[in-house]
């Protein structure tokens, strides 16, 4: 039984090893280096036919170009939109459910959030692509029907349950004595929540946001279907974008096994793995510390 118990640890290690193994030629193989190197991916390159050095991601062309910044910008744009929509809604709902709502409303809210969490991301992507994109376009008149805004809003539906669950737990873990002391001092409900309970739950709320951020970063299907899949660098949220995860998902089917494109895609996966691992690790660390402070964990 002890050996079976280490399956999760083995899985994490194996995942990192095997995606790094397929990405390793990017660092070590001179054949691959003729087409692309890890360093060249990060700096603007001068391509034939362009006025100046540009960051371009265009692996499928006569002159394959691998710049990683358009993908990072795309990922960040979609994530920012998703977090801007999700965090106020999720934290607000968590405060409402844990502080204001009666037990009956709580009985309805919990399963609703669980159901929202259970909706497959491909269904959210489908909804964004078929319904939401047209609706948002008639509302705002975008140039591109599928863009960072559409993908970000759809992504927020996947992020909200994650943030809500952790924040609600954090708010519920605040000792009742805080609430009672504040009321005894004459504070109104609203003052108690903003000045006493929310600050006490702040580490847990931050951890919830961190976990939601990790989820947003790595989500694939929603952005693959709804973001427009154009790898460009622009600050406008109404432009199409390409995220790292969508790039991997869309392009891996057509690559030559072992070629430069294949290797670069696996290298992107390593990047994605390390970034989300870092975010989730910090988020979990904060949650464990919060639970220990509240006396739930040893």
């Amino acid at each position: 039984m002890q050996t079976l118990a280490f399956t999760a640890v083995a899985a994490m290690i194996l995942i990192l090893i095997f995606i790094a193994k397929e990405a390793w030629p990017l660092i070590a193989s001179p054949v691959i280096h003729k087409e692309v190197t890890l360093a060249r991916m990060w700096f603007a390159q001068q391509w034939p036919g362009y006025d100046g050095p540009e960051h371009i991601w265009q692996p499928v062309s006569e002159v394959p170009k691998y710049a990683v910044w358009p993908l990072i910008v795309g990922t960040v744009k979609v994530t920012v939109v998703a977090m801007l929509v999700a965090v106020p809604l999720a934290v607000g709902s968590a405060i409402f459910i844990s502080q204001y709502a009666g037990p009956r409303l709580r009985e309805i809210a919990k399963p609703t959030i669980e159901f929202l969490a259970g909706i497959p991301s491909v269904v959210l992507g489908f909804f964004a692509l078929i319904v939401m994109a047209s609706w948002l376009q008639s509302l705002f008149g975008f140039d591109s029907r599928l863009n960072a805004l559409v993908a970000g809003v759809a992504l927020s539906f996947a992020v909200i349950p994650v943030v809500f669950t952790v924040c609600e737990e954090a708010l519920g873990a605040v000792p009742r004595s805080y609430l009672e002391a504040s009321v005894a001092l004459g504070a109104a409900r609203w003052q108690t929540i903003t000045k006493v309970i929310a600050p006490a739950a702040a580490p847990g709320i931050a951890a919830g946001i961190a976990l939601g951020l990790g989820r947003a970063f790595g989500e694939t299907m929603i952005v693959l279907m709804a973001s427009g899949n154009a790898a460009i660098i622009s600050a406008n949220p109404a432009d199409s974008v390409r995220t790292i995860s969508a790039t991997i998902a869309a392009e891996l089917a057509e690559v030559v096994f072992g070629g430069a494109h294949y290797t670069v895609l696996f290298a992107l996966a390593v990047l994605l793995f390390l970034v989300t691992f870092g975010i989730n690790f910090l988020g979990d660390f904060a949650i464990v510390r919060m639970k220990r402070r509240m006396g739930v964990l040893p």
Binding site: I130, L224, M225, A253, A269
Partner: protein, 283 residues
């Protein structure tokens, strides 16, 4: 809060309205025909079920064993315990596409090719996308779900029962296997149901490890490819040659997928609340 509820309702209503027209018995029992504009989605349902069953068979033993070890045997402050917990928590956060690449790199390329070399003399049988590899990849993805649910179930079993068993002279292993686990079965079942729900819906991990858009026959061997409900939705929505003609099939497939997810989540909630009520009377 109300905004969230409203959006959920909009999604459900839209899908039901557009999808229910095609939802006949034929739809659920026949395969697709005429270029995905008519017929049904039986192969996708069969493929989804087959993959999910294999996934559960792989994930349950490992997940339950991990949870039992963490809860019954390991010391809460030991380094190994902390490492396992960190691994479980972070496994839950790995992006699904990274799982897909892991499945491709480890199961298909490494394990599959190895099996081919040893058992099939180099012929390409397992060294390509297959039902087995997709199921194992999904098993790794849903492992944290099973572990967390099982731990919750084990924690709900009252301490008195364990002490009574020890007082009667049982070893820890006997206590766990004969006393604690049987009482934890509802919680483990909840974990299995939630894992199945997750597995039926995730598409990114199976993109390169076994899913296909159209297959002439149902999968009948572990090394066959398979059709799957979520993958079907993805391809119909993004790569269909005639979007308007395939839209009814698309909506109905989404409806079936959502209905399946909802039924699974609802049954998990029912099992969990029944278990809480039963154990609440013991404590």
């Amino acid at each position: 809060m109300l905004l969230v509820l409203a959006v959920l309702l909009v999604i459900v209503i839209d899908v039901v309205r557009n999808g229910v027209s095609r939802l006949t018995l034929d739809f659920l029992s026949k395969g697709p025909s005429e270029g995905m504009t008519a017929g049904g989605i039986l192969p996708a349902i069969v493929g989804t079920v087959a993959m999910v069953v294999l996934m559960t068979v792989a994930a349950l033993p490992a997940g339950v064993a991990t949870a039992v070890y963490l809860h019954e045997y390991a010391s809460p402050t030991a380094v190994t315990t902390r490492i396992i917990r960190v691994a479980v928590n972070n496994l839950a956060g790995v992006p699904s596409i990274v799982f897909g690449l892991f499945g491709l790199g480890f199961f298909v390329q490494f394990a599959g090719r190895g099996i081919d070399k040893v058992f099939f003399g180099g012929a390409k049988v397992y060294g390509q996308p297959a039902l087995l590899w997709a199921a194992l990849t999904m098993a790794v993805l849903t492992l944290p779900v099973v572990i967390v649910a099982t731990e919750e179930a084990l924690a709900a079993v009252s301490r008195d029962v364990r002490l009574a068993s020890a007082a009667l002279g049982a070893t820890r292993f006997q206590t766990v296997v004969r006393v604690v686990l049987p009482q934890a079965v509802p919680g483990i079942l909840t974990g299995a149901i939630l894992a199945v729900s997750r597995g039926a819906g995730e598409v990114a991990p199976i993109l390169f490890t076994g899913a296909a858009y159209f297959l002439p026959t149902l999968p009948h061997a572990l090394h066959d490819q398979f059709m799957q409900l979520g993958y079907h939705v993805y391809v119909l929505a993004t790569q269909s040659p005639d979007v308007d003609a395939t839209r009814p099939l698309l909506y109905s497939t989404v409806l079936v997928l959502l209905g399946l997810t909802f039924a699974l989540n609802a049954s998990a909630i029912v099992v969990r609340s029944r278990m809480r009520r039963k154990l609440g009377s013991h404590a």
